[in-house]
Amino acid sequence: MDLYIDRDELGRGLARIQGIIERRSTHPLLSHVLLHARDGGLRMTATDTEVAYIGDLSANVSRPGQLTVDAANLFQVVRSLPEATVQLTSTSNKRLEVRSGRSQFKLPGSAAEDFPALPAFDARGTAKMAEGALRRLVEQTAFSVATDDVRYGLNGAHLEEVTAESGEKRLRMVATDGHRLASAEAPFEGSLALSARMLVPRKALAVMRKLLEGDEDQVEIGFGDGAIRLSRPEQTFWFRLLDGEFPDYHAVVPTENKHRAMARRDELGAALKRVGILVQDRARAVRFAFSETELEIEVQNADRGEVREVVAIELEGAAIQVGFNARYLAEVIGVLRGDRVSLELAHPLAPCLVRDSDHDDAFFVIMPMRLD
């Protein structure tokens, strides 16, 4: 292998795979990237056997060839190189020479044949969606996915097809950790070959967030047997789905809410941010007192001090006091887009529905905490 490549192009390519490679794996080559120099460019492949990625970079290849090297190591080296052009050459003893200007690295590598097999993928159906829209689905839900929960079905995001009131077909992504729930949806074209027990794992969500860089560009979503593949120009990414049962989440979305408060999103968000300074302990309930025109947020915390915030609201229904984990609410406010948000609930121990006044394509449910 012998090629010339733009340093920043190579750096961007390596940055994308840092979230895929497995640094703490028992299989040493799972921390490697497979470099494949071929006509027209350099192909990079990375996998942890559950998630796989192939990306093509433009490069001037004079001698094709393949080699694997430690991906984190190579990334650090490339970022530090002095000149804009980089030469990559494989040596006969499985080393990768990296040259740029007057600096020269020799990194240990392995034969391409030793690289782990990629997970198989056979598409049963495909759909297309704007990259920005799919990224939004991930951003609005990923924070609610459970971490290593004993209820296995909570450890990934659930996908389903829904029809909006306008008749538009949408892909909906739902996540819950048992205390809060997030649901977001976006229109698609084509067909979703979804089946039950298909959950997108946390890691895949994190990778999607990073790889989906565009806004209006279309990303192709392929549905395989227990796997999903995303294709965008020069990049393909696929992952195995978790085989877990997502709970019937419709039951926890409250519909009969006697109390409904509207607030400006920026004001509420800023107040929650300040409140968060004193609430390090997530097990501490913050008091939210809703009255006709004001929401009073109060934390009494002997150790770290006290804080009281007042946010202007419009309240329908009687005044009410509710305890919340302020972080849960702050995270939801952080992913909403409209100017105003609504908080609706039936009583202080009932699930609270949080929505954006301008968008019907996302909703959030937060379970209160007991106050006393």
Binding site: A146, T147, D148, D149, V150, R151, T176, G178, H179, R180, L181, P247, D248, Y249, H250, A251, V252, D281, R282, A283, R284, A285, G323, N325, L349, P351, V365, M367, P368, M369, R370, L371, D372
Partner: protein, 408 residues
């Protein structure tokens, strides 16, 4: 603020009163019920006629004879009194269904939700009707069973208990909403349930005579010594258990909300050793349920589940497993316990004792879970609600066998 809705009904000199019911010639005479003549034992009940002489239930009969040599001494007749206790309970149940027997002669009643039932036109507020109902109940127990009783009505359980004592004999004492501290403050320290003779001695020795003094200790060595006790009295007066589900103080303290230290465990010795897996697992299911209920009350979740097993040769095994994430759910804990049972028990020897424990506790701060419709949580919450109000044993799950779903 909480209106007075918890009542404590205490039968006055219960055993003596029953003896007088059976033999009216004892009425008006000094009577002591305790050990049979010539036997050693303690006084179980003493009539008001002998109390000025210093005779108290709990003291030895020998001592009582010295103080009141002319009183009539009767043996405690087991099996006789409980029938009267049941009759009293039946009368109480005509007033409110929420009754809990604290002992053979003491009952707690929860009158929340009964306001409209007892309201009459012209009443000044809902409490008027409740107080009237309580007075009528006292009279009904006297009229229908023939036994005198006293009732304390208060916003919380410890005050209801104290008030019933102050109402004796044959009276009703009400602690009004907002009057909790005014009620407690003038009382001698010994009146507080939980302050026994030893603590009383220490307090009185330090010059603390009333509960008011105890609550309001000036800063200094006295507060350093008794401040937390005073704070506890104050807190319990103002925010004490408002329902029957709260367990006795020692137990409650043990399960104080937010306490993540230590472990939670429940165990059970079989009446007869059990050799079949089904029998053992049924008991483990019930223990898992109980220990998870306690975890939820304590507002903690647990990372580690512990099984304790003692076979009839007194060999004890404990096995534990750490879960990937903390839980307070009995289905999760029970599934884990069954796995541990397979590791710990070959089935060759019958089982004498089983226990289920939770450790590595984490404070949940009262965070509620989303009520996912299927399975335990929604129903479980309703069950927890019943138990919090009426006590753990007020409701039982009907699951049979391991394969049955947790809740039908």
């Amino acid at each position: 603020m909480f209106p007075p809705r918890i009542a404590c009904l205490d039968l006055d000199t219960f055993f003596v009163s029953v003896e007088r019911l059976l033999d009216p010639s004892l009425i008006g005479k000094p009577v002591v019920v305790g050990a049979a003549p010539g036997h050693r034992g303690v006084v179980t009940s003493a009539s008001y006629e002998v109390r000025p002489l210093g005779v108290r239930s709990g003291m030895s009969v020998t001592e009582a004879r010295k103080l009141a040599p002319h009183a009539i001494y009767l043996p405690t007749r087991h099996g006789v009194y409980s029938g009267y206790s049941k009759q009293v309970r039946a009368v109480i149940e005509d007033t409110t269904p929420a009754v809990q027997a604290a002992s053979i002669d003491e009952f707690f009643l929860d009158l929340r939700g009964c306001e409209r039932l007892y309201a009459r036109p012209g009443d000044d507020g809902p409490t008027v009707g409740i107080v009237r109902a309580v007075r009528e109940l006292r009279e009904a127990v006297q009229a229908r069973v023939g036994l005198p009783c006293s009732i304390g009505l208060a916003p919380c359980r410890p005050l209801a208990k104290i008030a019933s004592g102050l109402a004796k004999p044959a009276g009703v004492r009400v602690v009004p909403e907002g009057g909790e501290l005014a009620f407690v403050e003038p009382l001698p320290v010994r009146k507080w349930p939980g302050i026994g003779p030893r603590t009383e001695e220490r307090l009185v020795g330090a010059g603390v005579l009333t509960l008011g003094q105890l609550i309001d200790l000036p800063p200094g060595p006295l507060r350093a010594r008794f401040g937390s006790l005073g704070e506890g009295v104050r807190a319990a007066s103002l925010r004490g258990p408002r329902s029957l589900g709260e367990d006795r103080p020692a137990f409650k303290e043990h399960d104080a909300p937010g306490t993540a230290e230590g472990t939670l465990s429940n165990e059970r010795t079989f009446h007869a050793d059990v050799g079949d897996r089904q029998g053992v697992s049924d008991q483990l299911r019930s223990l898992s349920e109980r220990v998870c209920w306690r975890a939820r009350r304590r507002r903690v979740t647990a990372r580690t589940v512990v099984l304790k097993l003692r076979t009839n040769d007194f060999h004890t095994v404990t096995r534990s497993r750490t879960l990937p994430s903390p839980t307070d759910r009995e289905d999760v804990v029970f599934a884990c316990v069954l796995g541990l049972l397979d590791e710990a028990w070959s089935g060759r020897l019958p089982v004498r004792l089983v226990g289920v424990g939770l450790s590595q506790l984490q404070d949940t701060g009262g965070q509620l879970g989303l009520p996912f419709g299927q399975g335990r949580p929604a129903v479980g919450r309703a069950i927890d609600g019943v138990r919090d109000r009426f006590g753990y044993d007020a409701i039982r799950l009907g699951a049979v066998g391991e394969k049955t779903s947790w809740i039908a």
